[in-house]
């Protein structure tokens, strides 16, 4: 019958060219890439597409200074719900980092984060906006744009079960030094 031919072609259409296995005869049988090997490229942000390196990595003396300083060991700037304003309590931390980056020509990556409420994509944008807020603060204190990369993790590493003020832990920007 005509209809059965239609069905056959329907079933074949999406999966044309697939090898067959007995396990999932109706499924997508194409081999899929295993990405585990791709993830071992390094722990820093991938900077491909960004401008050429303008700064050198931190030398051992600078690294020691970074480790020894109490204020520089503070790396997280927390924000209010749906907010990007940097609170007064973080002014010291940001200004200490601005001075250190300027002195050493260090490169930093600012990782923005958001709590889980709302869509993954909008939270990616909110996290980015928090990273940009810290970037703008650093630039206003004299840090060069070329020393800063901004990346958002959105809600992807947020606590998915928090309620109330506990979710505040996820509304933050983390400062990460390259080569640390």
């Amino acid at each position: 019958m005509k209809k059965s031919l239609l069905l056959a072609s329907l079933l074949a259409a999406l999966f044309a060219g697939c090898s067959t296995t007995e396990v999932e005869p109706m499924g997508l049988n194409a081999p899929f890439p295993e990405l585990e090997s791709d993830t071992a490229e390094g722990s820093g942000a991938d900077l491909s597409g960004s401008e050429a390196d303008s700064g050198l990595g931190l030398d051992s003396e600078e690294l020691a200074k970074l480790k020894a300083s109490e204020v520089l060991s503070e790396r997280s700037i927390y924000f209010d719900f749906d907010s990007f304003a940097i609170k007064a309590e973080y002014e010291n931390v940001i200004s200490a980092h601005a001075s250190f980056i300027t002195e050493t020509n260090a490169k930093v990556v600012l990782y923005g984060n958001a709590s889980y409420e709302g869509s993954h994509e909008y939270n990616l944008s909110l996290g980015q906006k928090r990273a940009v807020a810290v970037r703008d603060a650093l630039i206003s204190l004299g840090v060069s744009d070329a020393n800063i990369e901004t990346v958002s993790f959105g809600e992807e590493y947020a606590n998915q079960e928090c309620t109330g003020s506990a979710c505040g832990q996820d509304r933050r920007t983390d400062i990460s030094y390259e080569g640390e």
């Binding site: 081999p31 869509s119 909008y122 940009v132 992807e156």
Partner: protein, 432 residues
């Protein structure tokens, strides 16, 4: 057959009338009385299967039609004799349970090894006549596919709109903090198969309208980048890896272009780019967030989310004239827009009172209505025929799951694909 289109329109208009009053309780919309009462008999199954079928054909049909929200599938337990063919139908038996239509059939061995033939009929009980009788053939592994095909044929016959019961969906499973996979399955969650696995999060899968590819965002490079994976070959390309974040891929209706979101070193902005990666250009520039682009079916307008007014709201921009208009005004935040295939309905997540729910807005008169109760509903997408919505839901303290809600709000049904966290889904196109 088109007499029943009118019936469907009645349901839809009733639902919109209630929307005008601002009533958010979905139970009253359209009302169960406006669903098509249909009886589905157990089929006379004369085929031995190597593997037990999880559901019989009549159960698959019932689940399909119930999920659509447009059918009242009647309990047939009390009916004395089950007809195997049209000439065995006792009309008064079926009138007695108020059936307007009846589906019956037989599953018979086919001519080849491991094949079967399903002979089935749709009968109009009111008019006492057969609407259609068909034979669908396949091998035994196509048992569910054949059932879905019957659902599609019945659905189109009785509503005037193509069914989506043969279509596929894709979704992300998060097994542990460092184990993610993008799966493809039948629309009802059966026949699931991973197409990509990663130790890092995967979000925003989007099936190309031509059915051949899925674009998605992966964090495997320690930041969000966009891949496009070919569903036939399984091969994928790193589509967008610009400085900063790369996310929110959205296919144009002809699958030739994508809208994507890039940040470089500033806030999220929308760019248009050809499907081969050429000719990238920024759509607009504001200091505010612009993200979650989605194309109107005319290919000329893009709906998106921006916080330019202080909170996340949905706007639209004409990509030729750059004329921009705000579209949503109800609620504190309105996110994740999706447009129905006829361009008339906007689907999104609406946040009020710290609850995130699936909402619909009629774009012709801006009537607004919520379809679900939240508290954490996300990523709503229209079925390709616009009659159902695929979405993610999560109760406080629970893992998120996916399910469907019919656009008349009458039926909410989970899609059971596992006990893990299930999120970020997409619906493949109608393929015939």
């Amino acid at each position: 057959m088109n007499a029943y289109i009118k019936f469907f329109l009645t349901i839809f208009l009733t639902f919109q009338m209630h929307a005008a009053t601002g009533i958010e309780t979905i139970e009253i919309l359209g009302g169960r009385a406006s669903q098509i009462p249909i009886a589905i008999t157990p089929f006379d199954e004369q085929v031995q299967f190597k593997q037990l079928q999880a559901q019989k054909i009549n159960q698959i049909l019932a689940n399909d039609l119930i999920r659509s929200g447009l059918f009242d599938v009647l309990n047939t337990d009390g009916v004395a004799s089950i007809p195997r063919a049209v000439d065995e139908v006792n009309y008064s038996n079926w009138s007695a349970i108020q059936a307007q239509f009846l589906i019956l059939g037989q599953v018979l061995p086919g001519t080849g090894n491991d094949t079967l033939e399903v002979k089935w009929s749709l009968v109009d009980i009111f008019k006492q006549k057969t609407v259609m009788t068909r034979i669908l053939k396949g091998n035994s592994s196509q048992y569910r596919a054949i059932a879905h095909k019957i659902s599609d044929l019945v659905y189109e016959e009785l509503t005037g709109t193509k069914g989506v019961f043969h279509t596929k969906i894709a979704f992300v499973k998060k097994k542990t903090q460092d184990s993610y996979a993008l799966y493809v399955s039948d629309y009802d969650g059966f026949n699931q198969k991973a197409i990509v696995k990663s130790q890092k999060p995967i979000i925003s899968p989007r099936w190309s309208p031509d059915g051949k590819k899925i674009a998605y965002v992966s964090f495997e490079k320690q930041k969000p980048v966009i891949y496009i994976q070919d569903l036939v070959s399984g091969k994928r390309i790193l589509f967008a890896n610009f400085k900063g974040n790369n996310s929110a891929p959205a296919w144009s209706p002809d699958s030739q272009k994508l809208a994507i979101v890039l940040t470089y070193s500033s806030n999220s902005q929308i760019y248009l780019i050809n499907h081969d990666g050429s000719d990238i250009k920024q759509l607009m520039r504001t200091y505010a967030i612009n993200t979650e682009p989605t194309w109107a079916p005319n290919g000329e307008e893009i709906y998106f989310v921006s916080d330019r007014g202080g909170s996340g709201q949905i706007y639209k921009i004409n990509i030729n004239t750059n004329e921009t208009k705000r579209v949503t005004f109800e609620g504190n935040n309105n996110l994740s827009p999706s447009i129905s295939a006829d361009g008339k309905l906007l689907l999104f997540i609406s946040q009020k009172d710290r609850k995130y729910r699936v909402a619909l807005q009629n774009l012709l008169n801006n009537q607004y209505l919520t379809l679900t109760d939240g508290p954490h509903d996300e990523s709503p997408l229209f079925s390709p025929n616009g009659h159902m919505v695929l979405f993610t839901y999560k109760d406080f303290g629970k893992t998120s799951k996916i399910g469907t809600v019919s656009i008349n709000g009458l039926t909410k049904t989970p899609i059971n694909v596992g006990s893990e966290t299930i999120m970020e889904s997409t619906w493949g196109p109608i393929t015939d």
